[in-house]
Symmetry: C2
Subunit: 151 residues, 2 copies
């Protein structure tokens, strides 16, 4: 079925800049990492009003992920946990290596967004920015299995 579908090509709209130069191990404290997202100059005006939101959703291309993607993975890369389907995980190694992060927007200056908590290494291509809307992005009382919350 996949073969019958048209190709879909993404354009990088910008690049992540931060101090994380290599993919760190699972459990890395991304929450504290401050990153700049430098957008293409031509898209500066398309960022207007974004700073009226406290949080934004960033979609990015995990350019260092493994190809081809595995079918099953250990949750959080921890070998002691039983393998699960890759779509039941947040592993970067997936058929389309698109990451999704909800991050705090600290400030916007022209074509540069400063954000906190983005789990992407320096140089990661950004493909979309959306405002975070609790009404559609947040779910009350969602159920998750215990293996994903194990620390």
């Amino acid at each position: 079925m996949v073969g019958e579908l048209p190709g879909m090509t993404l354009k990088a709209i910008g690049i992540v800049q931060n101090k994380v130069k290599q993919v760190p191990g699972s459990g890395y404290k991304w929450q504290k990492i401050v990153s700049e997202i430098v957008l293409d100059d031509s898209l500066t005006e398309a960022m207007d009003n974004l700073d009226e939101f406290s949080h934004i959703i960033v979609l990015y291309w995990m350019h260092q992920s493994t190809e081809p993607a595995p079918v099953k993975v250990h949750p959080k890369g921890r070998a002691e946990l039983p393998r699960v389907g890759v779509f039941a995980s947040r592993s970067p190694d997936r058929p389309n290596p698109v990451g999704k992060a909800t991050v705090r927007l600290l400030r916007r200056q022209g074509n540069v967004l400063t954000v906190q908590g983005l789990d992407a290494v320096d140089g990661t291509p950004v493909i979309d920015i959306k405002p975070y809307l609790p009404e559609i992005d947040s779910v009350d009382s969602a159920k998750v299995p215990s293996w994903i919350t194990k620390h």
Copy 2:
């Protein structure tokens, strides 16, 4: 800057099937719409364990969006609201027309997921499925401007 970046090509991993054959107007009650996501057969095992989650995140390609994307849009397509930067909106008309929806997973049967609340028309290519994890996908006390919540 964008020109210096490598192309990034997505593969459709499946297709949305539902009764919504044409893009409806803004304000459509997607919350009640039940859709099937039919995944490529080769990815059936990659869906294992997904049904241990009550909600999933679906990334999809909004193949009917407008090209080239506008820089500014009226929020929710409502002409009476002042235009904002497209990245401050959830408009489908954006540089990379990738949609992101958090939906309830009603059931998984083999390579078919049945979900509720997916705001995508029949035939929409799906590019990724992720489990919804409140710990990283939900934010307490996020701030949004009043124009986005106006009904």
